[in-house]
């Protein structure tokens, strides 16, 4: 099993997300994350999908996506040609005794404390998913109250880009 990242431009209309996620469900494709947002062009939204599977799964996903009328461009994004980022908001239990330690860890991971209360800290962190996961693992010891991850977004390095056909 390998991890794949797929980038795509889709039409910025209601129902497009349903169409795409519905197709994944129907064909039994398993995806790890799906992020969608508007782009510099009002007609298009951009999606980044991460998935775990074999080459066959990746090829089928891309080919089936290409057939959807709302999908303008879709391709695999190779890890060493792109920058990928994910953001997590994580609320950790923190009292007088543990607060300083958590803040130090947060600092080492270059994350930000965005809210502070007597018994918790809310931390924002951006980075590659592996870094987020390491930090989340670390925070388990202190007690994670809740957390929320955005899923991965990716762009090609250099001048390459996902152009509308």
């Amino acid at each position: 099993m390998k991890k794949f990242i797929i980038g795509m431009l889709v039409s910025n209309q209601s129902g497009v997300l349903t169409r795409i996620s519905g197709m994944f469900g129907r064909r039994g494709f398993n995806i790890d994350s799906l992020v969608v947002g508007v782009t510099e062009h009002p007609e298009f939204s951009r999606m980044t999908i991460t998935m775990t599977g074999e080459d066959y799964d990746r090829d089928q996903i891309i080919k089936q996506l290409e057939k959807l009328h709302d999908v303008y461009e879709v391709r695999e994004m190779l890890a060493d040609e792109i920058v990928s980022r994910e953001l997590v908001l994580i609320k950790v239990a923190a009292d007088r005794k543990t607060r300083q330690e958590i803040m130090t860890a947060a600092n080492v991971f270059r994350s930000k404390i965005v809210d502070f209360s007597t018994d918790s800290l809310l931390i924002e962190m951006t980075g590659e998913s592996s870094k987020l996961e390491a930090f989340i693992e670390l925070m388990k010891d202190y007690g994670i109250i809740e957390l929320c991850r955005t899923g991965v977004v990716s762009l090609d390095r250099g001048a390459t880009c996902l152009k509308n056909k």
């Binding site: 129902g15 349903t18 519905g22 066959y56 090829d59 080919k63 089936q64 290409e66 057939k67 009328h69």
Partner: protein
């Protein structure tokens, strides 16, 4: 012009001559627009929206044009669902138009409101809910383009009532050009030629894509050039004439012995417009381990989806084969022809089961003798369908109208109505007592339209296909497959205003068929056949050639 008028004007602009459908509250404006244009477009009122959807599908299969169906919101729209799925699985170009509640009422569980766009999303090529009347005409134009181009399929357009009422100017536009066919590289063509030239035992495997792209002539030419036999999936059956001696017949679960056996000896499968469905391939892990596979299809997602090919080419089968043919030199393969002849000879020694009663093959043969090469042959789903697929000598492309991918019992009568209207030819429907029971209400439509449809009912008193599996795999536990109905199909036909006849013996059937083929409107011939007749040969599900059951 109102949105409703625009819908019908755009359909006419797109070349639509016939629409099938059923009115209702949220489609009443559309029906008013039809009323005003009765001289320019024909509407066929069916008994049920499912029948209308199958009719549009049958119309498209027989004519190669886009079939159009109209229904109202809610139950009208949901009644289309099976028909849309059927068209989707067989890649048939259909445009479905549904009315819906006004935009202001959408999402409030209003009377007869369903989210038909959401419901049909997984069974359409694309669908729309048009909430802006200025986009209505262009959406319909785009829907036709999408339905036809590349790998065809159904498209649904949902039109809320306020959009049907809104009034804006309308202008006709030229038909949108279809997406150009994918360009095939010289490298791929040369690789294909090399594979073919290196093959000692090439075998052409022909699917629905060949019918859909009208590529029969090119396939015949290829077979001639490389001295190869041609086998078919059910969807590809009528792609080249049965009278061509290279045509072997159907392969797959209920394929012909020779077609399957010869394929198993081949070292190169040239797969044209097929999707290697499980019914056609059996156990895909043991599929032709020693053969190379050259797969040509317009849909890139079909390459390596079910079966890995040695070489896959994305393209229109018609132009790709034409390009290959141009580069090929005629080659004879006498040793291969020899093997083929031997297998065919062996097949002839398999005794055909004889009976004084009506056997299924006798029914098919009798009808075939009366029909023309151009007669559309519709079927329902079950044993009778397989007997027709195995036995009927299809001569013309688009003469077989049968539900392949979805296997929809109840498809046949609606589809026969559509095919009959598309071709203006006397049309035959082979149906079973189970299937006919599902949608026989469309007899009313066939009568009101005065359609010359010969309905050949293979009446075995059972859900024969399921019963056959129960016989073979479930210790004859005939759970819910014995119909024990008392339906009198002759009286039933007469009650609908059609003709009814009954045949118990071969000679009675001949008599009935003669009369039926001289009648004007629809005729039902109730043919009694034995409930224990089986469809053979059979490769059990997931099996291989080695598991073939012949008798």
């Amino acid at each position: 012009m109102t949105g409703a008028d625009i819908i019908i004007e755009t359909l006419i602009e797109q070349g639509t001559e016939v629409v099938f459908g059923y009115p209702g509250g949220q489609a009443i404006n559309i029906y008013d627009a039809i009323y005003k244009r009765a001289d320019r477009i024909k509407h066929v009122l069916t008994a049920h929206e499912q029948g209308a959807a199958h009719a549009a599908d049958g119309y498209a299969r027989a004519s190669g044009k886009v079939g159009v169906v109209i229904a109202t919101s809610g139950p009208g729209a949901t009644n289309l669902v099976t028909g849309i799925a059927n068209a989707y699985l067989d890649s048939i170009p259909v445009v479905a138009i549904t009315g819906n509640v006004p935009c202001s009422l959408i999402g409030r569980d209003s009377f007869q409101e369903v989210d038909i766009v959401g419901i049909t999303m997984p069974i359409v090529k694309h669908n729309y809910c048009v909430k802006d009347v200025t986009k209505l005409a262009d959406t319909i134009r785009e829907a036709f383009k999408i339905a036809k181009e590349g790998r065809p399929g159904p498209v649904l357009i949902d039109v809320p009532k306020d959009v049907q009422i809104a009034d804006i100017p309308f202008e006709n536009k030229p038909i949108l050009p279809e997406k150009p066919d994918p360009i095939v590289s010289e490298t791929d063509l040369n690789a294909a030629i090399e594979m073919i030239n290196a093959s000692k035992r090439p075998y052409i495997y022909c699917g629905g894509g060949v019918v859909s792209k009208d590529a029969g002539k090119e396939v015949e030419e290829l077979a001639e050039l490389i001295d190869a036999p041609v086998g078919f999936s059910m969807m590809g059956l009528a792609a080249i004439p049965h009278s061509n001696p290279r045509a072997l017949g159907m392969i797959g679960m209920h394929g012909k012995y020779s077609a399957i056996k010869i394929k198993s000896k081949s070292d190169l499968i040239i797969a044209l417009g097929v999707r290697f469905s499980d019914r056609a391939t059996g156990n895909k892990n043991a599929y032709m381990p020693n053969a190379k596979i050259l797969h040509i299809d317009i849909d890139p997602a079909e390459l390596d989806k079910n079966i890995n090919s040695t070489l896959g080419i994305v393209g229109n089968v018609k132009s790709v084969i034409a390009a290959i043919n141009k580069r090929l030199e005629k080659t004879e393969r006498p040793y291969w022809q020899n093997e083929i002849e031997n297998i065919k000879a062996l097949e002839r020694t398999i005794p055909e089961h004889k009976s004084d009663m009506l056997t299924p093959y006798k029914v098919v043969d009798t009808v075939a003798a009366a029909a023309k090469p151009t007669t559309p042959i519709a079927t329902d789903v079950g044993q009778h369908q397989m007997w027709v697929a195995q036995r009927y000598p299809f001569e013309g492309a688009r003469t077989l109208i049968s539900s392949g991918g979805l296997g929809t019992m109840g498809f046949g009568l609606g589809a026969a109505i559509g095919a009959c209207m598309a071709t203006n030819e006397r049309t035959v429907l082979f149906t079973g007592d189970g299937s006919f029971g599902m949608n026989l209400n469309e007899l009313a439509t066939a009568v009101s339209q005065k359609l010359p449809i010969v309905i050949v009912l293979m009446n075995n008193g059972v859900l024969g296909m399921v019963r056959q599996w129960q016989t073979m795999f479930f210790n004859k536990h005939y759970s819910q497959t014995t119909l024990e109905r008392k339906t009198d199909f002759v009286k039933l036909a007469e009650a609908f205003g059609a003709k009814g006849m009954r045949a118990n013996t071969p000679s009675e059937l001949e008599e009935c068929v003669k009369k039926a083929f001289a009648s004007d409107g629809p005729v039902v011939i109730d043919c009694y056949i034995d409930k224990d007749e089986r469809v053979l040969p059979m490769i059990p599900p997931g099996g291989t050639m080695d598991d073939l059951v012949v008798e």
